[in-house]
Symmetry: D3
Subunit: 282 residues, 6 copies
């Protein structure tokens, strides 16, 4: 069950409203790097957690915090939209500043939301839930979560750099801090499960004897004119404790040429496809 | 520049065509865990790589291999569609087996593709490119890649378990093996850059002095009736070498109640919102 | 700020797991009639509320309840997936019941979520946030909310009728009851603002003198061979207290034929479009 | 069967072309508040109408009018695009006005449509048909239609306020007038069916004895620190003539803690999830 | 302006309702090969037509006919849904036929539309308007239209083959016939403009002297192990009357290696990307 | 199998970076007229080709070339983003040029990609794979390919006209040239199969005796106030060598009025729909 309290997790202040920055902030709400994504991702992972119940509790606890982050960002967007131009007065139409604001903001902040946040990104694209990754495999999910927080923090620092507004910088410094924790928190779950090595290869429950292990540890070069770049990936022990990385400079091509049979009558093909050879050959 | 050779990377054989398995295999082509995703993700990351040129080369090399994986899966789908029913003959309409096949396969494998693979997932949803994660931050990108390969291998093992076809099992055992390598390969890039600790928090170029560090290392409990589950995430040194994880059992609520001003005239609101209080109060 | 407690709002029990019903239940999670939609719709409306602060509080309070409904449904889906077939054993492949289950369930409940709920509808389409209607106009928003709860209750009763499972019927009878309340709750907000008449036409803040009022009250027939059906919409006073409904049996056609000028050079048109007449005329 | 006549329903004139306003007008074509939506929504509702045949006739008649509204808006967009810059001449590149126009308009009005309307909204997102609500329940559908017309009129008044162009204001005043009628027309259908009370709760054909009626009439507070706001929704008779609204200040939490069993072998989980306890416990 | 008459363009009868065929028919309504697509494509092309006004008239006339085709298909879907099972009665749950129907039909035909057509394809994916191709170039548009009618007729014949229902076969034979005409009709517009040669290369208004003509007429082989297949595309005069087709067996690689500079401070990259070389080199 | 070589197919140079042009170029990568579309369309068509194996080889060969075009465009976008503003410094905020750049570029080129190309169009919408047309009918596919190259070349010439940058103009002149070839190449396949007439109507394998041939050759006028425009489409022999085009000035209306029966109990309808007449009649 969820509950709400009336105040925000952290103060959200805007010294000087900026409708263009409102548009940029939307990326942190409805972008793939944003807060709807992590809130819903942790929520759905929690609902599907099997195994250690601590992980479920940690997921739902953090999902709940992320809902509070959406709430703060929604307020930040609305505050930045204060005073946005609602009409092209004759005077303002000639005013390059008004023109620039109208050109640079998301017009749907006027047309569709009436100066409030929307569940969209900085291009006005609505968030779609196919970005919620919840695989039922806890290691895959934790990796997805570290990734989400990493891109989330990259985004937050870019937003921080783009504004000079003291209120917004303070607010973003809080979000950045929480992303610092959340990145590491999901890594800590992996450590708690035995570490990244013990988790590899994900899923670690599949018997490796059934994979084609002769193809499991070479790094493949598909370049025709450059050697494979050398690094940790081309030598040394694999992380799963089983194999040894090697470099394979050229793919073995082991398969056949993929040719399909002629089309069947009634399949909607051209008749040339059904009686192959004859009408097409020269 | 890209080039092509005519044979498949690995043999693709189907002992007994199965139109329902063709539908399942589509998840490995056009699903978010599938091969279009990794091929395009590595391609776009390569085009945006700044810094160590070895990483760019590794990305484009692996992107190219993933294109070859799409090619194999496309052939596998078509082979499984051989012999699928194209009509409801009076006899077959009464045949529960034909009915089951028609009910269980993707009908668009008949209607739209004429018995061939499509760029869709197992629900027939087209792949959309918003799932290509390429952030310009190499650590975030490598984490995204490990995640993609982890969910990819989870999917491949589930497909492996769902079929009894020897040809398909052999083919999937190859894909599983390559996922084993690719998961670890991207981790190796992170090790090569100094390891996961040195990468944290992503982006590691943002001066941590500017984040609200008093909020950077506590794991927050938002539950009203259960304590925070304890684990590596609630104690011990943070991975970034700076902070120490702690458990915070209850959120500080530091912010204000988020109240917006009245609506402005001309903003499309109801008049009750513009002259607040009066008409709404009792 | 949001909080969580560990138990569900209402008991969720499944007497006999049914993977096909799991697929149907997804419509109540990720369908346009479902709970993600209302949770997020009320949340975004709350963040944009201007005017009477009671409405904001009611919205956020109900948004929070809807989050708890997602949580229950997510559990209901997972319980229904217990025991779903994970492989085509030789025996089971011959078993029509196993085949029917595999054909009738969402295959991504195996392939992508590992037997857990996903943020998708009954066709496996992910929920997309463009369905969150939050216009900044409180009357439009309340109407959208009544609509969402009406379609939500229609869906819940259809699900109720489709199952014989006692646990599921009991759970759905709770959701149906809450939809009964929520439908009426948002209507009550409209009454509280003065009633549907006072709200009309939405937005009631736009000066009706500026609309083309001679076109504001006729119900238009565009049929060539049937008269306008008569009813409350074709006679009697309008609800806004201004006009009188009438029936107009045939549209006035007041406008011009819409003809565009020739294409401009450099606009990517065919040259026949740029020098019209000559090459196209016979 | 549909038919067409060559002139527009109402005159569409543009005194001074404005490519930025063309972008804004797109919201009224391809936005969720726009004309494609209502045209197609009424069309699909008409095709599914069961019961009173007058409703079907009214729906198809109005669907047909909305098609004519798309036609007018399409012409309005094209007229506003007249004279848009097609190239960055050296001179114009230095001209801030040209720059502002190119920055503020939809670039795909040049790149993709050649200076004509597209089925997109003001952010350039294509309309998707999941926004067509046609539930088979006539009361739910009428509520959806009132909502669509309410948000449509909100949008039209915002567009009206944003332009100073006399031709556009006159055209929009017509659209606003028709929205005034259409909002009320669908309400009138509800009155004709016995009124909003008789329709409640939608669907009114479901036997209320089967819903958990003890949960059907309380307005639930989920806030931890504020009482439920009081209003018509928390007291007085319900609209369905059955219950009495009450305020419930705190949710009963009636359900269990939702815990899933361990993962099954072969389900793609980590082995720690399959043999829970051992490797994860400290 | 649009108008409607009450009868269908052609009789739509269903001898034996078939809910699974209802699902298949949806592809002809909301699939990319379907009628919404052509109706809207011709409509938007008509609104953007510049040049020969006959083309605009032909487009809008055919758009109007296609609306009537949606209307017939919508009725065909509803008639096929007559008698679909609405509940899992204990008896019917054991009935494999009922199970097969519920497994093979679109469940949203029960859950979301109440046994009526929806604007979706055979996978239940909603039609999205990005498939409306209207480029402002009349030759490109006519080619798009021939393509749409070709895939439309392919689809209609596949549907025809899949059913044994006399009513449906008769109805589909009409749609197939109209597609026969419409394919050729748009080709006829191209002939009317001077023929396919005169239209080439589209757009024919771009001065070919400004393209890199040394690359305009060779067919490029990118295969490493097979020669370019020979045919009309590798020899003989080009259709535009300018060049001569040739076969180029191996790409010239004329460009540079695409290497980007180091990342800039403040761009959200890792510090290793900003000070390249040092931390990444071994 | 695919391979890669390290240099670009053609030189890509940017004389003066222009972040706004970077946004426009995205249309050629991720727009429906762009290179991802043709690369993937030819790839999927190749995987499904049945019949003449030369066509498969030609498709995969050209698919491979199109991948190289994506690679060049990706580099072109990144080069144009060099030097884009990353922050609103106090000074620059006052600088109208900086403001214009930030307003006119895609903000996600800063926020999401770190100054690199993305798989999106000029509106920032991600490419979605439903635009890959691969029908299994080779004539339909070739027509789709001519169309794709026609709109691709229209786009490329528009981009060419929009820039004054010498490097970009040179690069685009190469893409335009390749589009010139590719348009004609796919037409040549049709000629090779016997010409457009022999292909008509697509699919030419369906026995025309089964279509309602009395409806196969008239061009239908649905206008109420204008005659059908006359042209090649209204007279002369049809291209399929069977019929003769005629003009039909008025549709025969052959069908019934489409009326559905009353709603069934348990279908979620209003009770007025189930017992029609009574409560709705006046």
């Amino acid at each position: 069950m969820f509950h709400h309290s009336s105040k925000l997790q952290y103060p959200v202040k805007v010294d000087k409203p900026d409708p263009e920055f409102a548009m940029l902030l939307q990326q942190a709400i409805g972008g793939v790097e944003g807060e709807i994504r992590v809130a819903m991702q942790y929520f759905f992972q929690a609902m599907g957690t099997r195994g250690d119940p601590r992980i479920k509790d940690l997921l739902i606890s953090t999902a709940t915090e992320e809902l509070a982050h959406i709430e703060m960002l929604g307020h930040a967007v609305a505050l930045n939209l204060e005073g946005a131009p609602l009409s092209y007065q004759e005077e303002s139409a000639k005013d390059p500043v008004v023109n620039a604001i109208l050109g640079g903001m998301n017009p749907r902040h006027i047309l569709s939301s009436g100066l409030a946040a929307m569940p969209v990104n900085a291009n006005g694209m609505s968030f779609d839930m196919s970005h919620i990754y919840a695989s039922g495999n806890v290691a895959a999910d934790m990796l997805a979560n570290v990734t989400a927080e990493a891109t989330g923090r990259v985004l937050a620092t870019r937003l921080y750099n783009l504004t000079e507004d003291k209120g917004m910088k303070d607010f973003l410094s809080f979000l950045i801090a929480r992303d610092t924790m959340h990145q590491q928190q999901w890594l800590a779950v992996i450590e708690d499960m035995g570490g990244i090595g013990a988790s590899m290869p994900v899923p670690n429950s599949f018997p490796q004897s059934e994979e084609a292990q002769e193809h499991s540890y070479y790094c493949l070069n598909t370049s025709l004119d450059k050697p494979l770049p050398k690094g940790r990936w081309s030598e040394g022990p694999a992380y799963d404790g089983v194999g040894q990385f090697t470099a394979k400079e050229k793919p073995d091509i082991l398969g056949q040429e993929p040719i399909l049979g002629p089309a069947r009558p009634g399949s909607g093909a051209q008749k040339e496809q059904i009686q192959p050879g004859a009408p097409l050959e020269k």
